[in-house]
Structure formats: structure tokens, C-alpha cells
Subunit: 209 residues, 2 copies
């Protein structure tokens, strides 16, 4: 579990503003999550998410003092690119990144909740499918949805997945899931706060790819 627990997301302040620097530091460990899925089919997703993070970081680096919180960035872009916004810059990158983060959140939550296919208790397809349906499916056209269903066959066994999450150490399933629950506390609060911000700023789009 080192992988996740070494890189806990921070507590949010009462106003739920997300510190850009701390957020970028925490999400920089997310792309390697997709290595835990064990197949290079998922390296495509890893690069997509990596691209989102790189884009947000590039904007932040231009003026760290101006972009203290994620909301500072989204609001500045709304001013600067009124015509294209929100389909532009770090606003677009964070719009997609949050969906990938939500996908991971729901997948881990579903495992932590013990949701399983009783006939195939060592498969995680049911957990991945739930995460996909809640976080991503509506933003994907039928071709990408079909590709998802094919890619599902590359998903690892639950035992291997939990082992990978634990950086290759053999840990008891219950110990690993206890760590996942711990990780999910601040992680979920952060993802929720980003979604709330997109709703409040009317920055959300629902086009499909």
C-alpha cells in the first residue's frame, strides 16, 4: 500500500479551496496507479492523465503566486479566454483529470466496500465497470465505450491488483483494504471539491469523445 499511502492527499481547509502546489504534488503519483493494472494497454490512459497534469502544472508555473488555488487558475482562464472557455487550457485538463480521479475513487471504494462478483470473487471487472459507468461512460461515444469493454479483459486479478497497490508486498486483503479506506478520506474530499467547483463556476461540459 506504500504507493498510495506514501502520498496521501492533504486535509482540505474549511472553505474547501484546493492548494495548487499540494494538489500537483499529490496527483503526480496517480499515473503510476495505472501500472498496477498490469497491462500496457493501460499506458494509453496513463499518458492521457499525465498530459492533464503537465498542462495544469505548466499554467501554475507561469505564476505560482497568482495561482495559489485551483480555483484561481480556472477563474483566470475564464477571464483570459472568454470565447473558448471552459474548453481550454488547464480548465479543460482539470475537467478530464477529475473524471480519471473519480474513476479511481469509485473503483477503490467499491473494492473497500467488498462489492464482488460472487461467481468470480478474484476478478475486479464488476468494480471497474461500476467506476466506469459512474465516472466516464457518459463522456464516451460508442466506439470508446466498446474499446472499454474489450480493454476490461486486460484487467488484473484482485489479488494481483492489491499486491501491486502494496508495491509488490504480500499483504492480507483486509490490511490492504484498510489502507485504501484511509487513503480515500482526503482523496474523496478533494475530488468532490473539484466537482463542486466546476458546478459552481459552470465550467462543466458534457461533450463525448
Amino acid at each position: 500500500m506504500a504507493l498510495l499511502l506514501d502520498n496521501q492527499f492533504k486535509d482540505l481547509p474549511p472553505d474547501k479551496a484546493i492548494d495548487t502546489k499540494l494538489f500537483l504534488e499529490a496527483v503526480s503519483h496517480i499515473p503510476s496507479f495505472f501500472d498496477c493494472l498490469g497491462s500496457n494497454v493501460f499506458s494509453v490512459i496513463k499518458s492521457d492523465i499525465n498530459g492533464n497534469i503537465t498542462k495544469i502544472r505548466a499554467v501554475y508555473m507561469k505564476d505560482p503566486a497568482k495561482y495559489v488555488t485551483l480555483q484561481d487558475i480556472v477563474e483566470a482562464e475564464r477571464e483570459a479566454h472568454a470565447a473558448e472557455w471552459p474548453k481550454v487550457g488547464a480548465t479543460l485538463a482539470l475537467m478530464w483529470l477529475k473524471r480519471g480521479l473519480r474513476f479511481i475513487q469509485i473503483l477503490l471504494q467499491s473494492l473497500a466496500d467488498g462489492e464482488r462478483d460472487e461467481n468470480n470473487p478474484n476478478l475486479i471487472r464488476v468494480n471497474i465497470t461500476r467506476a466506469y459507468e459512474q465516472a466516464l461512460k457518459r463522456y464516451h461515444g460508442w466506439i470508446v465505450q466498446k474499446i472499454f469493454h474489450v480493454a476490461l479483459h486486460a484487467a488484473p486479478y484482485k489479488s494481483n491488483f492489491l499486491k501491486a497497490l502494496s508495491k509488490g508486498e504480500e499483504v492480507k486483503e483486509e490490511d490492504c483494504l484498510a489502507n485504501v479506506r484511509q487513503f480515500l478520506v482526503n482523496y474523496t474530499a478533494t475530488v468532490d471539491a473539484i466537482y463542486e467547483m466546476y458546478t459552481n463556476l459552470k465550467a462543466e461540459l458534457d461533450y463525448t469523445v
Copy 2:
């Protein structure tokens, strides 16, 4: 056809050595070829190929005087990384890049040769499938092969594809194909020379992804 013809590959010298700088300049226009396919499903392939080019360029830039030809790079890496070579560095990047280049070559050649599905003369699936089978299929496991078949449904109509190759100008099919044939002369010679080099240096691998 501006897109392709503006960026002709150069004549090869008699010894078929490929000048690294001229090669990098010519292939830098290749990723946008995948925009001609019209669907963002293909942006994934575009990034993969972009990654290959970036990796080769990064090695070249470290010492342009040392890496005058592509073969200079591959041979230097064979020395420097004996243990992992050829699954390493620019050698690996060029190994995959040449397969993508071959895919494009065969697709264009098949169109130039007038190969078509008589029942669906405005589809290019038969041309794409031929290119895939000759250039890539054997390097893909069954999941990626299945994803290919799904992605095929995102392929454009022939008329739209030729129009995109011609940078959006309406040109007669025969004029466009004449330009394609012209483009293919040096392009094919270059791709062939890279394949020959990989055979001669025993740098080719056949693992699947």
C-alpha cells in the same frame, strides 16, 4: 495534398545511410497524418508516434556531430546499453516508429493501387486492414488486435480522407493519388532502409504488446 507533399522525404544516398537531422525534420509532420483520420480515437496513436520521435530527437540533440545518421545512434546505443539493447532508448523508439511509418506507407500504397471494397467503394477499411496486417498485427496481442477492429469503425470515408490529405481542398481523387504516388517514392525507400538496418544490426524484436 499539401500536407504530405510539402514535406517530402529526401533522396537517400547510394549507401542508404539516413541523415538523422533530415529524417527528424521529415517525420515531424507525420503525427498530424492521424488527424486526417478524423476521429479523436486516433489521437492515442498520434501521441505514441510523437513519443517515439521525441525520444529519438532527444538522443540526437545530446550530440548532433556524433549522431549524423540513424545508424550512428543505434550502434552507439548497442555499445552503451549492451545488456538491455535493443529494447532501449532511441533504438526501441525507432523500432516502433518504423512500424507506424510502414503502416502509413502500405495504407497509402493500397489506395494508390486502387485496392477497394467493391461493395463499399467509399470505405477505406480494406486498405487500413491490409496495412495493419502487414505492419503491426504480429506485434499486438489479442486485446489490442480486438481494439483495432473496434477502432476501424472510426475510420473516415475515402473522400473525406483524401480531402484531409489535401489540407481540406477539394481535389480530384486521381490528382490526389498522383501526389500520393509521388510522395511514396522517397518515403518508401527511407522506410525500407530502416528495416534493412534493423535486420543487418540484428536490432529487431518481435515481442507483442
